[in-house]
Every structure is written in C-alpha cells, then in structure tokens.
C-alpha cells in the first residue's frame, strides 16, 4: 500500500466517524452525536460546534444529503443520509483506516499494550 499521510488521517477520522453513523439508515444531527458518544462509551464527543460545520462540508462535497422531515406530532428535523458517493468514500476510508491501524499495531503494538 501507498504510505498514508497521517495529517490527512487525523482530519479524516472525524469524517469517517460521521459517515459511519449514517451507514445503514438516515439520522438527524443530534442522534449522530448521541450514537458516537454511546458507541465510544463516552470517550468521543461531538459538540454541535464541531458536528455541523463538518456535516455541511460533507454535504457540499456530495457525500451526504440532508432533508427536512416532518413527522406528525414531532418537530421537523433535518435527516442526513449517505449518497452513493458517500457510501463509496466510506468504504474506501474504512479500508484505509483498517490498514492504518494494522500498520500502527505492527509498529507500536497499540492493540495489546
């Protein structure tokens, strides 16, 4: 594999997390933040101030698509879903990260330290 630029990995990690929460079904912003916090046992937290600019950027790049949805008895919320392009990028990123973590483990034994 080609050597991975770690700077872009760091930047990409937040994108990966956001894209991953949308894998399977559309969610609204707060739900995504909750999901990230729950799955990481509270270790990872996305504040609104971080999450939304990121979502808007992904939307501009065509990876996610936001739609206002109104359900009876509820306030309208903006649900985001992965676009086809988003799904492809998510697949690529997952692969990239898997390779990166394995490489990391081989060098620094991060998994069993």
């Amino acid at each position: 594999m080609a050597p991975t630029d770690t700077t872009s990995l760091q930047k990409g990690s937040a994108e990966l997390l956001v894209l991953a929460t949308l894998d399977g079904r559309p969610r609204h912003g707060y739900e995504m933040a909750q999901l990230i916090e729950a799955r990481s046992d509270g270790r990872l937290r996305f504040q609104a101030a971080t999450l939304y600019p990121l979502l808007y950027k992904l939307e501009k790049r065509g990876l996610v698509q936001g739609t206002w949805v109104e359900k009876a008895g509820e306030r309208r919320r903006r649900f985001y879903k992965l676009t086809a392009e988003g799904k492809r990028v998510l697949r690529d990123r997952r692969k990239l990260w898997r390779e990166f973590v394995e490489a990391l483990d081989r060098v620094a034994a991060v998994r069993n330290a």
Partner: protein, 905 residues
C-alpha cells in the same frame, strides 16, 4: 426556553444565503434544545441543563467561521492578500438583481442586529427621534411663517410704505393722511396704493354687544394685494367716500362663526359703532393684510378735504403694488423724492420726516425672524448632537464588532459590501428615528401652538401644519443624518485589520477608535455649551426684564376697555358717561378705587406728540421733543399706585371750560423743566384742537413704563380726560379680591348705563405686564427646552462612551486592583481620562459661544453677550453633569472583583 432566539442572539451574521442561514440556525437550536432536555431528564437542574446545552458551542465566532468555510469552501481558501483590491470592480460582479437581493439582505441583517442589541438600539433611536422631531417641528413653523409666500397675486410686487423719522428713531411710523393723499396724487411707481390700519367696532348680535377687531382699509388695498372677495364683491373707490361708505366686507372666519357660513349673508345689514352698514362681500379663508387678521374690512369714509386737513399721524400705513416694469429701488427713489418735496412744502407737519418702503413679506416676518432663526439654529444643534450621539454609539459598537467584520473580510466579503452593510444599518436606524421623530414632531407642534398662541402674535401661526413638505423634509433629514453618522464609523470599521481576529476580539477599540470617540464627545459638549450659553443669556435677560419696576403696582388691578360710538355720544355725553360709570364701579363691593385712562400703559400703541416750554421760544419745526400723552380721569395715579411726587392729582374740577392742566412724569420735569417741583410751569402740547393747547403743570408723578418695560420710560404728559374727551377709555379697578372676580359686576354696571356697549379686553394688569414679556418668555423657554435636550443628549453621549470604554478595560482594572491599586484611585484615573474630551469640548464651546451669542444681542436686555456669570455657570454645569455621567460607569467598572475580571480573559 427559546433556543432559536438564543442562537440568533449569539451567532454572528453569516455571509451566506439567507434561507440557508435560517436552516443552520434552526438545526443548531434543535441540537441545543435536545442537549438541554436530555440533561433535564438526567436529573440536572434547570441551570445545569442550560449550561450543558450552552457547552455545545464554546465559541460562536469559531462556529460561524467554520460554517461559512464549509458553505463557501473556495472563498475561504483564497487568502485576503491574493484577492483583488476591495474597491476594484470584480470581474463578473454582481448584477442589478444581485444588488437588490444584497440590499434586502443588508436591511434584514440590520433589523435583526438591532433587535439583538436593544441597549444600543433604544438610546440611538431615542436620540434620533428627539433630534429629528424637534427639527421637523421647528421646520414646520419656519416654513409656514417665514418661507411660504403671501397668498396674493405676485406677492413679491407688494410693498408696505411707512413714514420714517431718523432723529426720533422711528424707522417705521404710521402715515399722515394728508401725506398719503399726496402720495396717491404724485407717485407713478404703483398700480395701486391703499391705506390700511387697525379698527375696532362694536356690533350687536341679538341682545349681546360685542367688540370686533377689524381693519379700516381704502378700496385700493384690494388691487394692491391682488385679492378678490370669495363671495360677493369688495368695495369701490366711490364707496371710500363719506356718504357712500355704509358697506363692509367680512372675513371667512367671521362669516363662519357669526353667520354660520350662510350664503345669504350678502346684503345683511349690521350696525357697527352705531352706524348701519351692509355686508357686501366675504374674503377668502385665511385672508390677512401682511399677517394682520381682521374680522371685517370697512372704508374710512373720508372726504378728500378731511384727508388734506387731517392733523397728526393716525394708525394706518400704505400698501402698494409696484407698477409693471418698476423695480423696488425705482419706487423707493421716487417716494423719497416725493417725501422731501412734502417736507419742504409742509415743514410744520413733515420736518425731519421721510418714507420707508419694505416688501410686505419682509414687513410681516422681520419681527419674528430673529427669534425663529435662533430657534432653528438651536434645533439644528440638537439634531447635530443627536447624530453625534448615534455616531458615537455606532462607533463604540463597531469596535466591538471588529472581529465580526474582520472575519467577514477574511471570508471574502468585499470592503464595499461591508461599508454598504453598515450604511444600511444607519439608514434602518434613521428610519426608525424618523418615524418616532415624526410622532414627536407632531406632539411638539401641538404643544408649540398652545404655548405660543395667545402669547406672541406670530403671523400665520394657524397655518402651521405637518403637511407633505414637512414630511418630505423629515424623510430627507433622516436619510442625510443616516448617511452622515453612518459613514465614518462604517469606514473605520471596514478598515479593521485582520489582526482583530488574532487577539480574541476582546481587546477592541484601538487608539484610532478611541480618539474618534473622544473627538465626538468633545463636539457634543461644545455644541451643548453653545446652546446652554444662549439659553442662559436669554433667561438672565428675561429675569432682569421681569424685575423691572414698571412704576405702578400691577397686582390687584382689573382693566377693561369701554369705547363709545361717536354717533351717539358727543364730547359732553362722553365725559358724563365715563364719570358716571367710574362712580358706579367705585361703589361696587370689593372695589377700593377705580379710574380710567385712554391708552393703558404697556397695552400697545397710544398717543404721542411734540411739546415745548411756553417760557422759552418755540422750537423750529420738527425740533420739538416728543412725549407720550395720556388723558386720565381723577384718581388714576392713586388707583395704579403711581407715586405723586409734587403738586396735586387731577380732580373733577379740571373739566371742560376750566383752565387746562396737566400732570407730568418725573423725567420730563427734571430734563425739560429743570426741577422735580415743576408745578406752575406751562407747556404747549401739540394735541387736541388744531395747533395744540397750552397747559399748566399742577403735579409731578413717578415715571411709568408706557410703551414697553425695557424701553426708556421717557416723557409722559397726563391730561384730564374731561379736557380731552376721547371716546375710548380703559377702566383700571383696584381691589383686594381676585381681580377677575369683579368682571360680572363691572359688566352689569356698564349694562345698566348702556346695554349696547360691550366690556372689551378684560384683563388683570398682571396679565398686561406679563404679555409684554411673552415674546422673550417664549424664546427663552423654547431655547431652554432645546438646550436641556442638548444637555441630556450630551450627558447620554458621555455616559455611553464611558460605559463602553470601561467595559473594554475591565480586565485592565482587575489587574491594576490585583496589583494593589485602590478602586478609588482607578475611578479617579478613569474620570480624569474621561474628562479630557469634556474639557476640550468646553474650551471649544466657549470659543464658539463667544462668536455666536452676539446674534442674540438684539434679544437681550441689560445682559452683556459675554456675561461672565452665564458663561462660567454653563461651563461648570456641563462639566459637573459630564462628571456625573462618567462616574456611574467608572464606579461600576471598578466594583467588579479582580479575579472575575481576570477570568474573563
């Protein structure tokens, strides 16, 4: 709680599509709300839940930058240095449609930004409303009174013609009838020349006699003014003459109020001063002769022989229309030449006399113009102060917004766009100020009418209206002020360096902004000082006027005028009637004494004539001194409280047929007879029968203010009314009661004697005296009100700037106090710094006041225009008020605990 409002309040304006921005705000609000509710469900208190929601956005500015970057990825990546120059037209720049959309967005942003900052918006709008409101109201007055042309045909061709006597300081004197006749016969400059003067007539409506104020006018007055009757006709030259003169034209207003606007009023007979006349015409609404209203116009009813032989100068002046092709200067030359001919031909009447021509509009407004100009300048200053105040507030706010502006610059907003945004904000502010100002102008305008009407005879006061021109003026004013006070802060703010982003935006207010703020404060203080000084001088002058001793005791005196129609009362009947009336009034319960005088002191024009000592050679024509002449009844001096210094009072024995006697004023006795004890001296007084009469002085009384309080009290000769029986007398009645309580019983006494006579002009002497001061009172009160407004605005300005500056420097104070400075020393330091622009403003203002108060000179009585007490007092007042306005924020700024101040870094 309303999280959407919370987001709107905190999130800086985003330079993105407005609909998109709304989406962003809503989404953020949903998230904060969800976090808040979750915390509540998890058992947090209300405050904890709020804090945890607020923790979602640690820094709103950072969030805004991030959102705009996400939304406008390309713009964000272009470094400011690489972008084209801000003012260079961008390739593919915004089309007109885009411009309109931008403008709408600018205005929307502005409204939202203001709603978000009530502490800024409310004082700014109030200041503007006060400035614009006062200015619009005064403009309404200036327009109606000074600027609107007279409602005559070609009004600029109408002139007033007066006689003048330079040596006696009479620039405009009423005209001798014989001279008027000569003018009409000899002049070629006018297409019409008429005579007009005040007239009063007693008319009886039903059972009720009423005195009506109108005008005596010759028929040529109508073509001279170029007016026609709105109904019926005006009278002709034939009807000017005795025998044909039983006609009358009435005013539209009189027609409405007395005749119910009936069309069949034409031909109605009406008895006026005992003479039957027929109403032949109704004038157009609002008709005046140079601002003088009259409920009727009637011919003089003269014969040419009478005119030629008429002694003295009556109470009329001439109005004339310049003939085609004749200029004002040509007419003036011709009239001067005619006057010098007349002086040569009739030296006894005309020695020293010439003529004065004046455009009729000028004649009407020149009396009120100085006061109106002073008031207009005063409101202009108030408006300027209001603008400075708002500029101050905008500037202070813009330094706080430096970071926002810098961020938007960094994100690609062009400088022109930012300037436009800030101008839009000023315009929105000005529009709000103008709306509130108009409401205020309306209120001021109503109050002004109530306050001025009845105090000062301002021509056309009733025509003042908040009409379209005034509204237009207000709108123009709002736009002009908006651009003026918005422009400088906008330029300053848009030039903010990017470094504002780096230091966290908390430092704000660079030295340039602080200097600008200080300069604005100095300007405000200087303007206020000029206004306060002017008001101070007028008030000082007014107080001095009020303290003038008029020479009589005004309190406890009731006055009322009774005129007798000449057709029913000859001289003997007049004397008998007035003696009878005074006797009856004196016997009324509550009356201490009663007497009469033909022309009440301080109540308007009276009689004056020339005189000389009989023990000296008669002076040449026109060289004799002049004196006021007042026919009075016995007991007049005692009733008025005028001191008798020598000799005796007039008595009922000084009647027709007895030797003619006089009482003279102290100054006349001293200056002309060489002694206060002038009893026994003989004078020739040019009054009464043709050639005048010789009188013997039997008494000397203290000087009395006859014409006005501030004029030289001058010479007065009092003659027994019975020896100069004029069919006009004003009763003076002294009582220990409230004077007006006597009115019904006096009216009854008059009715018992003659049921057809009205009791006219019933007033207390206090009112009469007060009325002479009302012009000064009105100007002083209005200027005082405007300068109080200026003082309030200026102190608000000082307060605002200090509060802003203290807020900016809270951390510095914290550090100082932490390092051992006492709060007191910090307050002193802040006050000292805050006072610097105030002191500068006071110095500049004093200089400006020295230059400007001389325009008030004509309005001041015994008050030097550089009165040191007034100057010193207002400077001190302004300094103390500014100090107080600085103290409050200074104190608050240092009361904050040092730790707290430091933590906010």
């Amino acid at each position: 709680m309303d999280w959407r409002a919370h987001v709107r309040r905190h999130l800086p304006t985003l330079d993105i599509d407005a609909a998109r921005e709304t989406d962003v705000i809503e989404e953020l609000a949903l998230q904060l709300e969800a976090a808040y509710e979750r915390a509540l469900v998890g058992g947090a208190t209300e405050a904890e839940a709020r804090a945890s929601a607020e923790a979602e956005v640690p820094d709103w500015n950072d969030l805004a930058v991030a959102v705009v970057r996400a939304e406008r990825p390309v713009a964000a990546r272009v470094l400011p240095a690489l972008r084209p120059r801000a003012d260079a037209p961008a390739a593919g720049g915004p089309s007109d449609g885009r411009l309109l959309a931008d403008l709408a967005q600018d205005l929307r942003f502005a409204v939202r930004a203001f709603l978000r900052a009530p502490r800024f918006t409310v004082p700014a709008v109030v200041a503007l409303a006060l400035g614009i409101g006062a200015t619009a109201a005064i403009f309404g007055v200036v327009r109606a009174v000074l600027l609107t042309p007279l409602p005559y045909a070609e009004p600029e061709r109408v002139v007033g013609i007066w006689e003048s006597h330079a040596a006696r300081n009479r620039p405009r004197n009423v005209v001798a009838a014989a001279n008027f006749l000569a003018w009409t016969e000899r002049s070629r400059s006018f297409s019409a020349i008429g005579l007009v003067g005040p007239a009063r007539a007693t008319m009886v409506f039903g059972e009720e006699p009423q005195e009506v104020a109108g005008l005596a006018a010759s028929s040529a007055v109508f073509p001279a003014l170029g007016v026609q009757a709105a109904l019926g006709r005006v009278y002709t030259a034939e009807e000017d003459l005795r025998g044909n003169d039983a006609v009358m034209v009435i005013s539209h207003e009189f027609w409405q109020s007395r005749f119910g606007g009936r069309a069949d009023v034409l031909g109605t007979p009406i008895v006026s001063n005992g003479v039957p006349r027929q109403i032949i015409g109704v004038m157009p609404p609002g008709f005046t002769v140079a601002g003088e209203k009259g409920d009727f116009l009637a011919p003089y009813g003269w014969t040419v022989e009478q005119l030629r032989a008429a002694p003295g100068r009556g109470s009329s002046y001439a109005v004339a229309r310049l003939a085609d092709g004749v200029s004002f200067a040509q007419a003036e030359d011709e009239m001067r030449a005619i006057a010098s001919d007349l002086e040569r031909e009739f030296p006894q009447r005309n020695a020293g006399w010439s003529v004065a021509l004046v455009p009729l509009h000028e004649q009407m407004v020149e009396g009120v113009r100085p006061a109106l100009v002073v008031l207009a300048l005063a409101v202009a200053a108030v408006l300027l102060i209001a603008c400075v105040n708002v500029a101050n507030l905008l500037l202070a706010r813009s330094t706080v917004r430096e970071r926002e502006m810098a961020m938007r610059t960094a994100l690609g907003a062009r400088r022109g766009r930012l300037v436009r945004q800030m101008l839009a904000e000023s315009l929105v502010l000005a529009a709000a100020g103008a709306t509130a100002g108009l409401a205020l102008a309306w209120a001021i305008h109503r109050g002004l009418l109530v306050f001025v009407a009845g105090r000062v005879p301002v021509p056309r006061l009733d025509q003042i209206a908040m009409d379209v021109p005034v509204l237009g003026f207000t709108a123009a004013l709002a736009v002009a002020t908006g651009v003026t006070f918005g422009f400088i802060p906008a330029l300053l703010a848009s030039r903010t360096p990017i470094s504002a982003l780096r230091d966290g935006g908390r430092h704000g207010g660079g030295p340039r902004a602080r200097r600008a703020l200080a300069t604005l404060v100095a300007i405000e203080v200087a303007l206020s000082l000029v206004l306060l000084t002017g008001a101070g001088l007028l008030i000082t002058s007014f107080v001095r006027l009020q303290n003038i001793d008029p020479g009589f005791r005004a309190e406890g005196l009731l006055t009322a005028r009774v005129s007798l129609p000449g057709v029913r009362y000859d001289e003997a009947a007049t004397t008998a009637f007035y003696a009878d009336l005074i006797e009856r009034v004196s016997a009324l319960p509550g009356v201490e004494s009663a007497a009469g005088v033909t022309f009440l002191p301080l109540a308007g024009p009276g009689m004056a004539t020339s005189f000389y000592r009989l023990d000296r050679p008669a002076p040449a024509d026109g060289e004799a001194p002049t004196t006021h002449v007042r026919p009075v009844t016995p007991g007049f001096f005692r009733t008025m409280g005028i001191a008798l210094n020598a000799g005796r009072d007039l008595t009922p024995a000084d009647r027709d047929g007895a030797p003619v006697v006089a009482v003279v004023s102290e100054t006349l006795a001293r200056r002309h007879l060489g002694t206060i004890d002038a009893v026994g001296h003989r004078l020739h007084v040019n009054i009464g029968r043709p050639g005048g009469m010789d009188v013997q002085v039997v008494g000397v009384v203290s000087d009395v203010a006859i014409a006005s309080l501030d004029a030289d009290h001058g010479f007065t000769v009092y003659l027994p009314h019975a020896q100069l029986p004029i069919n006009l007398l004003t009763l003076v009645i002294r009582t220990a009661m409230e004077p007006t309580a006597l009115t019904p019983s006096v009216a009854t006494a008059l009715r018992q004697l003659d049921p057809l006579l009205p009791l006219a002009d019933v007033r207390t002497m206090d009112e009469v005296v007060g009325r002479t001061l009302s012009r000064q009172e009105v100007v002083a009160v209005l200027l005082a009100a405007f300068s109080a407004l200026a003082l309030v605005l200026a102190s608000l300005g000082v307060y605002g700037v200090m509060a802003y500056s203290v807020a900016q420097r809270t951390q510095e104070f914290g550090v100082r106090i932490a390092l051992g400075a006492t709060p007191r020393s910090v307050v002193s330091m802040v006050l000292a710094q805050g006072l610097r622009p105030v002191v500068a403003g006071v110095v500049v203002g004093l200089g400006a006041a020295v230059a400007l108060t001389r325009f008030l000179e004509s309005q001041l009585y015994e008050t030097p225009v550089l009165d040191p007490w007034t100057f010193g007092g207002t400077a001190a007042l302004l300094t103390v008020v500014s100090l107080a306005a600085s103290y409050v924020p200074a104190r608050r700024g240092t009361r904050i605990a040092p730790v707290q101040a430091l933590r906010s870094e």
